[in-house]
């Protein structure tokens, strides 16, 4: 019994991508950019501040980092809550020590539940992006569009109310999307999102509601990915970030400015035995010549200002 003949038909076998979301282009063919003050490497430290509900529904899948034990899974709930109570304040100290300007991706529910934490972040003046409603409110293929539309409206509307700010950037929980997510984000006033990790530089992403910018928030260099999914050692985390920093600086000598995007979780690197590794990374990167620590929005603005 052969497969359906459709299996050997290739309707999208053509120049460019197999969809219309963005144009195909090789990074090495693009015009070089330079960052303010002739810096060559923009350091984007993205801190995910997350709320993992105890009554996790896991629809359509249990979010990585979420509850895994029968209800009530106090161990995972509190381990994640640790990041918002303890780990984040270790982070803030480290950022200040190394003059790093972080960007915060907040679950709206966390901002609602923790006014003190929100106030601490707001007071710093750092950029705040929306990270969805909470970690169990996933956007996913096959999701009802009205349900998702409500979810996005509510997540963004509430965060805008609480902060009194525009909120330009978005990161989906678990970086999961439906086929409609980009349209819904554009329709709700989002300028850039960081779910598509297919580049090292920003690029334009088409939606039926206008253009978005895709910002390159590396998944491979994320603390959670390296330590929790790959189970690498803390030393190896430091080595990998330092090697990436060296490589990108080297590449920038001939190809123009690059971005080192570090996605961080205070429940992961904010642990007492790991915070020193974050400090080592920040010390190393910020001591290199040509590094510009900036928010995601500032990096994007600088990039856009150099586009034809």
């Amino acid at each position: 019994m052969p497969l359906d003949p459709e299996y050997l038909q290739y309707p999208h076998r053509r120049y460019g991508m197999d969809h219309d979301r963005y144009d195909w282009s090789m990074l090495s063919d693009r015009n070089p950019v330079s960052w303010p003050n002739n810096n060559r490497l923009a350091l984007w430290v993205n801190v995910c501040l997350q709320f993992f509900p105890l009554d996790q529904k896991g629809k359509p899948f249990p979010v990585p980092g979420g509850m895994t034990m029968p209800y009530p899974d106090l161990r995972h709930f509190t381990l994640r809550d640790y990041g918002n109570r303890v780990g984040i304040y270790r982070f803030l100290k480290a950022f200040d020590k190394y003059n790093v300007k972080p960007t915060f991706a907040l679950n709206t529910r966390l901002a609602e539940n923790n006014p003190y934490l929100l106030h601490s972040i707001m007071e710093r003046g750092d950029e705040i992006n929306c990270h969805g409603l909470h970690m169990d409110a996933l956007h996913y293929g096959g999701q009802d569009i009205n349900e998702e539309s409500e979810l996005i409206k509510r997540s963004l509307g509430r965060l805008r109310d609480l902060t009194g700010r525009d909120i330009r950037g978005w990161l989906s929980p678990a970086r999961n999307e439906s086929a409609n997510t980009p349209e819904l984000l554009a329709a709700n006033g989002i300028d850039y999102f960081s779910d598509w990790c297919n580049d090292d530089m920003p690029y334009q992403f088409r939606t039926d509601k206008g253009l978005l910018w895709a910002m390159p928030l590396s998944n491979e260099l994320e603390d959670r990915f390296i330590l929790m999914e790959n189970l690498h050692s803390e030393e190896a985390y430091v080595e990998q970030i330092c090697d990436a920093c060296d490589f990108l600086l080297q590449e920038s000598e001939t190809q123009g400015g690059r971005i080192l995007a570090l996605n961080l979780h205070p429940w992961m690197l904010g642990q007492p035995h790991r915070i020193k590794k974050l400090e080592q990374v920040l010390e190393y990167v910020t001591s290199q010549e040509g590094v510009w620590s900036a928010s995601a929005g500032d990096i994007l603005s600088s990039f856009c200002g150099q586009q034809p």
Partner: protein, 304 residues
């Protein structure tokens, strides 16, 4: 279903005929970048899911796209720096999608071999006619875009049928990368009886296996490559060995992995008795110089 694939005979790794590569080299070294295209919405194969999540499966799709957008140029420049011509395991639809990559590789006289049409279209469930059609399409596509008919095959996403190698040999191919049973080339039995061989393409050295399956740390991967080389180089003194690093631009070309990879390439190419070559050149040389002697030796060893 059969208990064994019956593609080759047992051939003990001792007292083999002595192989020497060109210029008396002990080890033939080749790098096989897999240049692949994964589809965002492939049709469902009843035997294997392409993506774990309902579409759009961003984690898998986007990092593979990264390989083509960002990673390719990095690995290509690195291989050039160390005088290595890539032997590309090609998702042949990429000739249509990303002809710029094909041109860059052509300019560098790299080898192209077939890796199917897309890495999201599996062999599983195809009838023999369908699989032949897919293989012939991939061969014709490479020939049309590069002017050279490919000699080698690596089944898409390592998905096979019982007749995969028969079909590829009948289509005029001379070597396969699908078998991991040896550190030297070996004859492979196919139904046409043509001279057809396996060229070692190490799954253990494959960056996706190391990084994504075995979760190896980058510097350890670099060390594994050097250790693999050291032993094969030493043993190559007795009879020439083959070392392959199969790579993917979405793994090895990530910024945090380039340094370890570069150090390994620098180490290997810094040795004198290494033949830095391509899969096809190894296959041709082996078939021309050793195929008959090796075949006779294998026959003799069945009779003990």
């Amino acid at each position: 279903m059969n208990e064994t694939p019956a593609l080759y005979d047992y051939w003990p790794y001792q007292n083999r005929p002595k192989i020497r590569w060109p210029n008396d080299a002990k080890l033939a070294f080749w790098v096989a970048p897999n240049i692949e295209f994964y589809e965002l919405n492939p049709p469902l194969n009843p035997h294997r899911k392409a993506w774990p999540q309902p579409s759009p499966a961003l984690p898998g799709y986007t990092i593979r796209d990264y390989g083509n957008r960002v990673g390719h140029a990095r690995q290509m420049n690195l291989l050039e720096k160390y005088g290595i011509r890539g032997s590309i395991s090609l998702s042949t639809a990429l000739c249509d999608h990303h002809p710029e990559i094909i041109e860059l590789c052509k300019e560098r006289n790299w080898e192209f071999f077939s890796h199917g049409i897309y890495n999201t279209r599996y062999t599983y469930g195809l009838s023999e006619d369908q699989e032949r059609e897919m293989i012939l399409d991939s061969i014709a596509t490479i020939e049309r875009h590069t002017g050279i008919k490919p000699a080698g095959y690596l089944a898409p996403a390592l998905s096979h049928s019982e007749v995969t190698l028969d079909l590829f040999a009948e289509a005029g191919g001379s070597y396969t990368c699908d078998l991991f049973h040896d550190d030297q080339p070996t004859p492979v039995r196919t139904r046409s009886g043509a001279k057809f061989i396996s060229v070692p393409y190490s799954l253990e050295m494959n960056d996706t296996i190391a990084y994504a399956v075995n979760k190896v740390e980058p510097r350890r991967y670099g060390q594994m490559i050097k250790d693999n080389f050291d032993r094969l180089y030493e043993e190559g003194d007795t009879s020439g060995t083959v070392m392959c690093i199969p790579t993917h631009n979405y793994q090895v070309s990530c910024p945090h992995r380039m340094k370890a990879y570069e150090e390994a390439l620098e180490y290997i190419t810094g040795h004198s008795d290494v033949w830095v070559t391509t899969g096809r050149e190894i296959a041709d040389y082996f078939i021309d110089h050793y195929y008959d002697a090796v075949t006779a030796d294998i026959v003799a060893k069945q009779e003990i």
